[in-house]
């Protein structure tokens, strides 16, 4: 659609601007403020320059957390995106079963995040959980509070459980929009299943898939509540992701300066990656003629 130039449209944006300025810009300025100042309490602050940034950049703790965070996001994206597409391809197209699948699949998405954590905390416990008990009965040594590998597997399986449906539902919406004529043409050309997917379905769902990847990347990169409830960041620091580390630093130890410097770099990393995804997404949108 070709849009008209209208500078007065700014007035329609104004309410959003005021609200977001209040709830985003003011707090963000506070963070910037803390990141360049030091304090000995009593509300006395003095200029510290880029000291905190240097300290954080030199701190092994932040790099470790960042490494764990990137590993986690990469693993869950590598599992959830293909699995979500696979599930979407197998979903019933219409009727009662389609509705039932949609409702049941949306269920994990609407559970408060700490309850998701609680569900898996209970489910994985060796003494009272179905999963933990079954694994123990099979002779597998599984204890997510003591074994880092088990903790990682639990957190990843939990995230797959929690969010794969989002990818599947997005891909499903994309698949629903493909006209039947495309499939008929493929049939005439005697295209096999893989070719239909590769040349018809995949290009058509690319747009929504980018939304899925963008959302999943952002949300997995800021994950806090679920792993915190299940493992508390442990054992040791094995599942201490960026947000968990940040909250520990800011609200636990009240190290405002380093935490603020950490926050800003954390935010910038997310912005950078999201900007790349966003650019790809808008280009796809344009190509499809929106």
């Amino acid at each position: 659609m070709n849009k008209t130039v209208n500078q007065k449209a700014w007035f329609l944006i104004l309410p959003v601007l005021v609200l977001v300025a209040f709830s985003a810009v003011i707090p963000l300025m506070t963070v910037v403020n803390y990141s360049v100042q030091d304090t000995f309490g009593k509300n006395e602050f003095f200029w510290a320059g880029l000291e905190w940034f240097e300290e954080m950049l030199g701190s092994q703790r932040m790099w470790d957390a960042l490494g764990r965070q990137i590993t986690f996001s990469a693993i869950i994206l590598a599992i959830e995106i293909p699995l979500g597409i696979f599930v979407a391809l197998n979903m019933p197209k219409k009727g009662f079963w389609a509705s039932l699948c949609l409702v049941l699949m949306s269920l994990p998405l609407l559970i408060p995040w700490n309850v998701v954590g609680t569900i898996w905390q209970i489910f994985g416990r060796v003494d009272i959980g179905l999963l933990g008990h079954t694994l123990a009965a099979m002779g597998i040594d599984y204890n997510y509070t003591q074994n880092p590998t088990a903790a990682w597997i639990t957190v990843i399986v939990m995230d797959v459980w929690h969010w794969t449906s989002l990818v599947a539902l997005l891909a499903y919406a994309g698949l629903q929009s493909i006209p039947d004529a495309y499939y008929q043409a493929a049939k005439i050309d005697q295209a096999n299943r893989w070719k239909v997917f590769r040349f018809i379905e995949l290009p058509k769902i690319m747009g929504v898939l980018m939304i899925a990847i963008l959302l999943r990347f952002m949300d997995s990169f800021m994950i806090y509540t679920e792993p915190f409830v299940v493992t508390g960041g442990g054992p040791g620091n094995a599942t201490t992701f960026l947000s968990i580390d940040l909250v520990k630093m800011a609200l636990g130890q009240f190290d405002l300066g380093p935490a603020a410097a950490f926050s800003i770099m954390y935010y910038l990393v997310i912005l950078l990656v999201s900007y790349v995804f966003y650019t790809v997404m808008t280009n796809l949108d344009k190509r499809d003629g929106h």
Partner: protein, 279 residues
């Protein structure tokens, strides 16, 4: 003929294959929830002392504990209050903005749109402490409106994003015809345009509900007693006397119910809604 036979012969197992895949996937999704449900219907001694696949002595005591104790059920009311406030605020500011983005070009529109989206990308952990200080300093700490405004941080950009997708699908000729017919902008917007994007508004409301209802970090940081959300109340079961597993499970099940109801009402729009109107 043989070709057709081969094709129909292939079609049959494929349908079964899909059913098996979906069956396994749904089993994977529902098993942990089922486990929580059975636990909420067991007594603590049954949970801890014997491993049973379903409750041997069915009990509703855990639910009674929650529904009769004000410190429990006010948690639900608090959560509901700020979620609804957030939905109203977010929709009210996002509707005109989304209209502007979907219809007009203006100075800085693309940058503005991305800047809005960046707020959806802001980690709540970054904002927890500044929010606490901001709302404390203006005397809104521990109120529902504070949580609603804090959640607007990520919900308003999301609402603008989804609504813009839906509004792009409404032909522009409708606007022009209405203006020629003498409608003023507010009247046109409320009487004609809003009903046209009603399904988009419904889907947006669903997403706003979803992200506000599930969030805990900010809502916990900004409240202490009067506006404490149910999700934060749940951490209370971890007491000195150990964890009250039954009550914890029952509270968990009760937090799933509002979401399940909302899904039931929007089930026909879910697929389109998840594509944010872009299909």
């Amino acid at each position: 003929m043989s070709d057709r036979a081969k094709k129909s012969g292939m079609a049959l197992p494929k349908i079964n294959g899909s059913a098996v895949v979906m069956g396994l996937y749904l089993l994977f999704l529902l098993l942990p929830i089922y486990w929580l449900l059975t636990m909420s219907l067991k007594t603590n001694s049954e949970i801890l002392n014997s491993f049973t696949l379903w409750p041997q002595n069915l009990t509703f005591d855990n639910y009674m504990t929650i529904l009769t104790d004000p410190s429990w059920y006010t948690g639900y009311l608090n959560s509901m209050a700020y979620v609804v406030m957030n939905m109203v605020i977010s929709l009210a500011v996002a509707l005109p903005a989304a209209y502007a983005f979907s219809r007009y070009t203006f100075l800085g529109d693309k940058h503005l749109f991305f800047w809005l989206l960046t707020n959806r990308m802001a980690p709540p952990a970054v904002f927890a402490l500044p929010f606490f200080q901001l709302y404390s300093s203006i005397g809104l700490f521990d109120t529902h409106i504070a949580v609603a405004l804090a959640h607007a941080l990520f919900n308003v950009p999301l609402a603008v994003w989804i609504l813009e997708g839906f509004m792009r699908g409404v032909p522009k000729e409708i606007d022009e015809t209405a203006y020629i017919d003498g409608y003023s902008f507010p009247r046109f917007f409320i009487r004609i345009f809003t009903p046209l994007v009603a399904s988009g508004i419904g889907v947006t409301a669903f997403f706003l509900f979803m992200f506000s209802w599930v969030e805990l970090l900010l809502s916990r940081t900004l409240t202490s007693v009067n506006a404490k959300p149910i999700a934060a109340t749940m951490t209370r079961t971890v007491g000195a006397a150990g964890i009250d597993w039954g009550v914890l499970a029952a509270a968990g099940i009760l937090t799933i119910i509002p979401g399940a109801l909302v899904i039931y009402f929007v089930r026909n729009y879910i697929a389109k809604g998840f594509a944010l109107g872009r299909v």
